[in-house]
Subunit: 500 residues, 2 copies
């Protein structure tokens, strides 16, 4: 049993953290609004508002007596859960205390200003207008990393904002292995004579696509009482366990794009909604980190949404929404959902194989930018050269090249690797869920997703930040983090599809 | 010239205030989202977020060294504008410093919880489910008033949150005069044999109504780059000079209702958008208070939107959106927009005359509630009795009676009188604008609103909180605040309409 003094020190710490957590989730609402609802003219005020919130939450985290409050809680007699809460607050505090509040506010202000600049640059295909503010952001984030730990390479430090526990060496090891094993596989696919079905060529009305996206969310079990679907130029999901929203976008030439991005964001939202209600405001009620988050979006997108049983289930809905598809079979749809496009330039539209080459490229470029080995002005050239090298294609515009992603305008350098880590983890988790559930393929084909939701909630979502990333993976799968399952899955799936 | 020390003390104070102002406008975004976008399940997190923001802004305002910062600024050599900034921060500080942070957080949390309870109670016509939380809110606001000034009646203290400078005695004097002079006028209207045209009876598609609301905003000159239109159960406007949004609602049986509420909220948004951009975050970039805000919404709603020249201008747009109106004349539409409905129970649907009786009733009830002279359980009965007394009608449901307004669920007691004060002030300001502009009626009829916008921006909006309410009125109109112009306007307009 905990003593009264223990309870006091712990409760006092948690109460401080709840305030900070609420200010941060309030800032999340402002970001959602900025990207989905806000009129363009609102930027100056929104920048100032977000800057005020991030400076305030930073100041609250690094208040003078916070070190004392942490030490009091740390020296108390804590349960495993309480110790995890204190560990996570300590980790955030140790990083934040080293960064001056002014710098935090400046980063927030600059990222708010960068968003419309990036949007405009992308719309106008004009990298030069984005370059100056990108340079400012790189300087600011280097300065930020330097405050946290000047003894280590800044990119390694920044990466830990998104994935604090796996380490950049693990990320690099995984990315190297993906490149080594996937590049030959992608080559083989490119040389295959197999004709993949193209049942969804043509034009598909955006309103009907939106209705279909809602069908997909209904089918998979999205909780509309705690969510909503909107459009955004760069799809994302955000929120809390009480309100986790999904965005997507519609391209009339590419109905599968909106559908897979909707399912992807659904996976994120499902993780958020699976966090325990009664731990709201505590690290136990917050998601582990971006790698684990991405494992949930990728699991639903790739292992469910791109599977044969899903297409047996879902194709009839597609036929209800669009005419002219009477002769399409579930096998056709499955093939189309897994086609490896040898001319695709866009990360979010990539198949499960080439996707990782998009990440490797970004990882290499942003690391070089942060480490000062690459000048901002060289980015378009280097980007295009690497696309050529890894995928044999070359963007004709920067809008389809280095301006396609929102992340750098957010100042998020070190974020991209978590996408590949998440995809790899998705395969490992799906394997465990599949082993634990009687007949998961049958479940999917008959629209029964409860067992999968339950397994994921029990083994991943409900823990919040109870475990570090390696421990969470070990708890959920009985094994250390490994790329084996993803590579087995990719080799088997694409081998069968392309008759390799 | 200001000395360096002056500049430092003033700038330091303003910088603190900007942080607070930004946190408050961030909270405004969260409120807009809660009423317009948020899924129902989001309430617990939203309550906690809003509570965290309001507690934080309160704590920043009452920080230990704030008194010193204020005194340093006050003793400096300030310009008139700087002195106004300091005066406004001092006023907020003096009130806030007396209220414990815990109470502020509790009020915020309780109002967030009350909103869905009120919505449900209104939907179910069940006052009993709303009564307990209304009682909690009354207790909390009484406690709040008591902290600020226990020597004065709590309602007088609460009223100053919404209108700090005119005084409750002025409000009461104006409301008494309105009751005395309008009740006989309303009686005369009721006895008149004049048949007012009813060209808009029937059913009007909500989507077409929305298009028409957008037409109205276009016509009046709404800046869509800094705004948007959405639907909300209780129309409101919120935002900053960079992003001032309008909401409305559509009733297929009452197309004029949506239109007038849109024009009303447009008036609010126009005030907000007219605040100076470069004073954002300072009291000089914030609106004066609710009375002045309401004067702007009422000016556009009543003096423009319910005028004969406006209907000459706008009726063709209505005919474009709806069929079957070919024979309707501008005079018919003008009459319909000014009809005094002898059976209307709803404040926001009331004409210019009976509107004030709705306010008098609320003022009397909420004052009695706060002063402890009326029990919450008695509200429905007293409400209905007073409706009978003032307007000769009796609500059949509480949804059409004491549950119709959102304000009490916000804990806003003392807010209602500002509606009547604003309407009265609208007439006084419109008279001055009319005198200053060559031919305002002609302008309106030809869709030229620039001169009116300019006059209002120059004389009201651009000042922010530079002047107190009485001084602002004096500056803009050359006279003290008076109900004369409103009563002249009402007597002349309704006398002519009803042949009195």
């Amino acid at each position: 049993m905990a003593s009264d003094a223990t309870v006091d020190a712990y409760d006092e710490l948690l109460e401080r953290y709840e305030r900070i957590s609420n200010i941060q989730s309030a800032a999340g609402v402002l970001s959602w609004d900025q990207e989905v609802m806000m009129p363009d003219g609102g930027t100056p005020a929104r920048s100032a508002q977000r800057s005020a919130l991030s400076a305030t939450s930073h100041e609250l985290l690094v208040e003078e007596d916070m070190e004392g409050a942490l030490e009091a809680a740390e020296s108390a007699d804590l349960s495993g859960e309480q110790a995890a809460v204190v560990r996570e607050i300590r980790r955030q505090y140790d990083r934040a205390a080293r960064v001056p509040t002014d710098l935090v506010a400046e980063i927030s202000q600059t990222t708010s200003e960068a968003l419309p600049v990036w949007k405009e640059a992308k719309a106008e295909d004009d990298f030069e207008t984005f370059a100056p503010i990108l340079e400012d952001l790189l300087d600011l984030k280097r300065e930020y990393a330097d405050h946290i730990d000047s003894s280590r390479p800044p990119y390694e430090v920044l990466f830990e904002d998104y994935e604090p526990y796996l380490g950049l060496d693990t990320a690099e090891r995984i990315l190297d292995r993906l490149r080594e094993e996937l590049v030959p596989l992608i080559d083989e696919v490119g040389e295959s004579d197999v004709e993949i079905a193209r049942p969804f060529d043509g034009t598909f009305d955006a309103d009907a696509q939106e209705a279909l996206a809602r069908d997909a969310l209904d089918t998979l079990g999205y909780d509309w009482e705690r969510g909503r679907l909107d459009t955004a130029p760069h799809p994302f999901s955000t929120g809390t366990q009480f309100d986790a929203r999904v965005t997507t976008r519609f391209d009339e030439e590419d109905p599968l794009g909106a559908l897979t991005s909707t399912i992807h964001e659904f996976g994120h939202a499902t993780y958020t909604l699976g966090l325990p209600d009664d731990e709201y405001g505590s690290p136990l009620g917050e998601s582990r980190n971006l790698s684990v988050h991405e494992s949930q979006s990728r699991l639903w997108e790739n292992h469910v949404g791109r599977s044969q049983p899903f297409w047996s289930l879902f194709l009839p809905k597609v036929k209800e929404r669009f005419s002219g598809l009477d002769d399409v079979t579930a096998r056709d749809a499955y093939e189309a959902a897994n086609r490896v496009y040898d001319d695709n330039l866009i990360r979010v539209e990539a198949d499960e194989l080439t996707y990782h080459m998009h990440i490797v490229l970004r990882f290499e470029i942003e690391r070089a930018l942060i480490e000062g080995d690459l000048d901002v002005r060289e980015v378009p050239q280097v980007w295009n050269d690497k696309m050529d090298e890894y995928l044999g294609i070359r963007p004709e515009t920067d809008a389809d090249g280095c301006l396609q992603d929102i992340h750098w305008s957010h100042g998020s350098f070190g974020y991209f690797p978590t996408y590949s880590l998440g995809s790899v983890l998705a395969a490992q988790l799906y394997e465990s869920a599949d082993a634990a559930i009687d007949d998961l393929d049958d479940d999917i084909e008959s629209g029964e997703f409860d067992a999968l939701h339950d397994w994921l909630t029990t083994n991943v979502h409900s823990h919040g930040q109870r475990y570090t990333t390696p421990d969470l993976i070990e708890e959920a799968t009985g094994e250390a983090f490994t790329a084996d399952y993803f590579l087995d899955h990719a080799t088997a799936k694409y081998g069968a599809l392309y008759d390799l």
